[in-house]
Symmetry: C3
Subunit: 218 residues, 3 copies
């Protein structure tokens, strides 16, 4: 697959938006929101690029990465302010949590595709390539959640790593048989995002049925 | 020293088990437990490989790494369920904290040896090689603890970095004089693990005698 | 600009001191303080070196890095003990928070200069080079704060990323026109540190005027 850089930038955009929304939820100031947005948008891809040996990482050599991340974070801030100006009623209807869930799900889909595709292009075998897809997809969110001292979503929700793995495996599997992957890539990204959203809305989970045992580690 | 990859895989196994046990203690769901196990098992080695310039990191080119980490995490989950089925009595006797302490100590020993050995093989001088040994040994655990929003053990217990440093320095020092290191490597790993376990059991520490001063950073 | 390694080592020194002071504030034991000091002192530069492709990172090939970080952390511990011995009165006057603010501000200045300079030397364009300057400057502190489970300063204070960006952009901009940069580098570092200190002392901020909306992420 010739990696559609489009997917990577779409992932950066939605990831940066999710970071900025988290910053707003946490009451960060403007710079904090922008920094958290940039770190979330660029973090997952940076880890992927370092691991697969793409030096220097894309966000350092392609100006569109930083620009996309900054614009996404700024866009979120502007929308938030306008909503606040319009009044609490409308603001309540355009719920922060729905916006967050949407961009976070899209991030998962876009990055699963772009991460797997780039890893394949750098010569990785299908299984590690799919692993890099998952890592790219969840990486930015993990950085985001760790920065605000929360346990990352990937550890708290089962249907987070699972959709990412599904989309990544799909791309890695089909890559062998065709080079015209763009429609399939969109399908894989959409499937991943949809699965994550539906699971979150319906509250799907398979939590271990016993309560946690709280023993202090040594 | 021709690095015995065996040590690296043993480290991955015990580290992944410690990650899975932490996931159970924290009440994570199945996917969360597997993800935390894989991140703990593969994280320390990945950081080491990136720093010493081993591209791509071992866990991306050698399928045994991911397999070992997954099997270890799954094994922990299965044992936990069987213990739960047998009954609370037996389950109390096979204490989670003892299992955790054991695999965490073994991780320290195995990774101190394999981390130092691999760094030497990549041309690092003895002192930085030993530093990489320590980093490999404590790295996975740091990632594990940060993911569940806890202060890492290496910061909370003195006899954590010290045993890892001891084992690493031992390997780095002896490496000059012999090429048949396997017995010595086992001794270094065992010494490291034993020192950490005994220190934890006996409560060795050298905490600063004053209470912390709680001043807010600016 | 031929990177004055001096700036990198000055950054390591002040960053390690800030890490050690954080360790004391958090009541860590001696090993924890040293580990936190080393991680803070060496972390930002290690991330930079990995991203710009400087293999292996400076702290692994140049013994002065680890030595500087260790000496800084040990120095902080010794001074703290002496102050404690002299008595609570003097100890109160030499406030921990002032010392922390000072070394943390100096870190920002030194690393903004050395990070930008090294990135330029490795062929990055001015904008990504300045981005690497900011990342180097705030990186160690982010690692430090995440290790002790706090939200990093860069997210909580606006005049943290801003001074770092200012110093970095200054170095990146002027680098084109001159090769004798040492005085300018000192000016940029001093400006960065001073701006951060004054902003912290005066309580400058531009916090969003609304309280945070506490909605749980899915």
């Amino acid at each position: 697959m010739h990696l559609p850089i489009l997917f990577d930038l779409l992932g950066v955009f939605s990831a940066a938006a999710s970071g900025a929304l988290t910053g707003i939820r946490k009451g960060l100031d403007l710079v904090g929101i922008l920094v958290l947005g940039a770190a979330t948008g660029l973090g997952g891809g940076a880890v992927r690029d370092v691991l697969i040996g793409a030096h220097p990482p894309a966000f350092l050599v392609d100006w569109r990465y930083l620009t996309t991340a900054t614009l996404a974070a700024l866009g979120v801030v502007v929308v938030e302010y306008r909503l606040a100006a319009v009044g609490p009623l409308l603001r309540e209807r355009v719920r922060l949590s729905t916006a967050y869930l949407t961009v976070d799900s899209l991030t998962l889909g876009f990055f699963a595709v772009s991460g797997t595709g780039k890893a394949l292009r750098y010569g990785l075998a299908p299984v590690p390539a799919a692993l890099m897809g998952v890592l790219t997809a969840v990486g930015g969110g993990v950085i985001r959640d760790m920065l605000v001292a929360e346990v990352p979503t990937v550890l708290r929700r089962e249907f987070y790593a699972i959709p990412a793995a599904l989309g990544s495996v799909l791309v890695a599997a089909v890559d062998r048989y065709t080079t015209a992957l763009t429609p399939l890539a969109f399908a894989a990204a959409g499937l991943t995002a949809a699965l994550r959203m539906v699971a979150a809305r319906r509250g799907w989970h398979a939590r271990l049925s016993r309560p946690p045992r709280a023993e202090e580690p040594r």
